[in-house]
């Protein structure tokens, strides 16, 4: 009994790390609920360049939704950016769904050596950071006149090897006999895929979509490189442009940007976990 207690003490370690995880989020949330007058007083050393240090109230003296109201009513750009984000994320996901799902299916069902080599190529491309493929993407987008349009984000996203890689794992796990049986019963390729493959691999599709959403809701490099026109920017790139003296609005906007991502995270956590684990299985 006593030994059990001591063993539970080990949980203190992850608990302490949890504080480190939650601290920035608490700062953000409390800041967004603080009245702008109180906030500028707290932040005054940073804003006016005076003496002393910034202080903080984790529980605001006068909690208010004023910042949110101001953001939603007085700042039409916020809506433009928000819809840009929604459009880019939803468009990327949709294109990936249409293009990556059948490709993953083909790789999972393929038994030939050149198919495996091709898959290795997808994996290698997946591991390359954005900066390495930036020039080649840029040249192609320039040649096709897609630069400075939302398509400059959507087209490279559509052909990203990442969702193919994640879904492949799940399709791979479907037992071959089930599919053979369907084929013997006379179902054609398309039918086997639509009525057996897709439903049985749906967890994989969901995982890939959630991981992709996290990525495309968080776009920084791509819009920065390919979108010159600020009115096309997603929220993720616009937020840091809000200046410090509008701290309250910036924090409210940050919370609102975080919200869709958080909801999807909480709703799809088990798919997210499955997706992460799928990325770890070796080929």
């Amino acid at each position: 009994m006593k030994k059990g207690r001591v063993a539970e003490l080990a949980l203190l370690f992850p608990a302490l790390l949890c504080l480190f995880v939650f601290l920035p989020l608490l700062l953000l949330l409390s800041g967004s609920l603080t009245h702008s007058a109180e906030l500028s007083q707290l932040l005054s050393p940073m804003l006016s360049g005076g003496e002393g240090f910034v202080s903080w109230e984790f529980v605001p003296k006068f909690p208010t939704l004023q910042q949110y109201v101001e953001l939603l009513l007085d700042r039409p750009q916020f809506f433009v950016m928000f819809w840009n984000s929604v459009y880019l994320a939803a468009g990327s996901l949709l294109l990936q769904l249409v293009l990556a799902t059948p490709a993953a299916w083909w790789f999972a069902r393929n038994k030939r050596r050149w198919g495996k080599r091709l898959f290795l190529l997808y994996v290698i491309l997946m591991l390359m950071p954005f900066q390495v493929t930036m020039v080649s993407n840029y040249l192609m987008l320039k040649a096709t006149r897609l630069l400075n349009t939302h398509w400059s984000i959507l087209v490279p996203a559509a052909f990203s090897p990442f969702p193919v890689f994640i879904m492949y794992r799940f399709f791979r796990a479907i037992p071959g006999q089930v599919l053979e049986a369907a084929k013997i019963d006379g179902a054609n390729e398309m039918r086997v895929f639509v009525s057996i493959g897709a439903p049985m691999g749906s967890a994989g599709v969901a995982s890939a979509m959630i991981l992709s959403f996290m990525e495309y809701w968080n776009l920084i490099e791509q819009p920065m490189t390919f979108l010159e026109d600020q009115s096309l920017w997603p929220l993720s790139l616009f937020l840091p442009e809000i200046s410090l003296d509008m701290a309250g609005v910036a924090m409210a906007a940050s919370v609102l940007t975080l919200l869709p991502s958080l909801l999807i995270f909480l709703y799809g956590q088990s798919y997210l976990e499955q997706g992460i684990l799928a990325s770890a299985l070796k080929e």
Binding site: L11, P14, L17, V21, F22, P24, L27, L28, G31, L43, M46, V54, S55, W56, P102, W105, W106, R109, K111, R112, I124, L125, L127, P129, F130, Q131, V132, T133, M134, V135, S136, N137, M140, P156, A158, F159, E189, F193, N218, I220, T225, L235, S236, F238, L239, P240, L244, A247, S254, T257, S261, F265, Q269, E273, I276, L277, S279, A280, L281, K282
Partner: protein, 298 residues
């Protein structure tokens, strides 16, 4: 002759539309063509360009490579990137392994912790940029805390400590992801082995060194590769908090690429892209060679 033609026709038909042995290539084709057109062929074009000068298109041999490798900014950025990878990855691996070990043997509390540690993955970088500024600016919260403890203020983002701020934010973001991968590795070790070790009287440390650690090695390869990929994404934090020209200690290859791109310095950019992709490929193959040696492929 006619027979061979027929056979070839049958093979092509099988390849494209599927037959008893294979799945129709039609499933793959849209993705493959797009990938080839937008990624692969342009990349070969970049390789070609790296041997030519952008102005006039003259063949210059290895001149662009020489110009990149002798460039001071490139040397600084490459060294910083190396130092960053060499510090943040071992730290992340160690911390996440400790958390995974703690949670693995206490499944009742594990779920809540998993959710907490995964949460930062869902937080867009832009949302916390303001908090980062609040914490780390010269008159920010952290310095206020230090002052209260009687310690002089530190210039977090404009000194060598910027490097550690970046390492910290990498760990903040990736701890949950990596921990989950370790947990999966631990789950693949049969419980009977732990039982047997206990029956034989091995203590916790010996069990860990002789059973857990060796059996986790296969997991290590994938964790290293994925951590490497994610390590390049800290550019987002670094750029949004400190801009195009941050303190020297966090000026990484990503900054350099970004700046050269803005200056449209295509010669160097092409050569640097080829160099960095080769380096990453070599690193991955090396890790694979060292860690996967003797293991059979699927």
């Amino acid at each position: 002759m006619e027979q061979r033609k027929q056979a070839l026709k049958r093979r092509m038909k099988g390849l494209l539309f599927g037959d008893a042995k294979q799945t129709s290539l039609m499933f793959l084709l849209p993705s493959l063509l797009g990938m080839a057109g937008f990624v692969l062929i342009p990349f070969f074009d970049v390789v070609r360009r790296s041997f030519f000068s952008a102005l006039g298109g003259r063949f210059v041999g290895l001149e662009n490579y020489r110009s990149v490798l002798t460039n001071d900014a490139f040397q600084l950025a490459a060294a910083n990137t190396g130092r960053f990878l060499g510090s943040c990855i071992p730290l992340l691996l160690l911390l996440s392994l400790l958390v995974a070990l703690t949670l693995y043997f206490r499944p009742r509390s594990a779920q809540l912790f998993k959710t907490s540690f995964l949460l930062p993955m869902a937080v867009p970088v832009a949302s916390v940029v303001f908090v980062w500024k609040l914490l780390f600016s010269d008159q920010g919260l952290l310095n206020g805390l230090l002052e209260a403890l009687g310690h002089p203020a530190v210039s977090w983002m404009n000194g060598g400590s910027a490097f550690w701020v970046l390492v910290g934010s990498y760990i903040w973001k990736n701890l949950g992801y990596t921990m989950l991968l370790w947990l999966a590795g631990l789950a693949s070790i049969p419980d009977s082995l732990f039982e047997a070790a206990r029956v034989d009287g091995a203590d916790g440390l010996r069990t860990f060194l002789h059973i857990t650690l060796p059996l986790l090695l296969p997991t290590l390869y994938t964790i290293l590769v994925l951590s490497l990929v994610n390590a390049f994404k800290v550019f987002r934090e670094a750029y949004l908090v400190a801009g195009s020209y941050p303190h020297d200690s966090i000026y990484q290859l990503q900054h350099l690429f970004n700046n050269w791109f803005r200056d449209l310095d295509m010669d160097r950019l092409a050569a640097a892209s080829v160099l960095v992709s080769l380096a990453i490929l070599a690193l991955i193959l090396c890790l694979r060679g060292v860690l996967e040696e003797g293991r059979e492929d699927e």
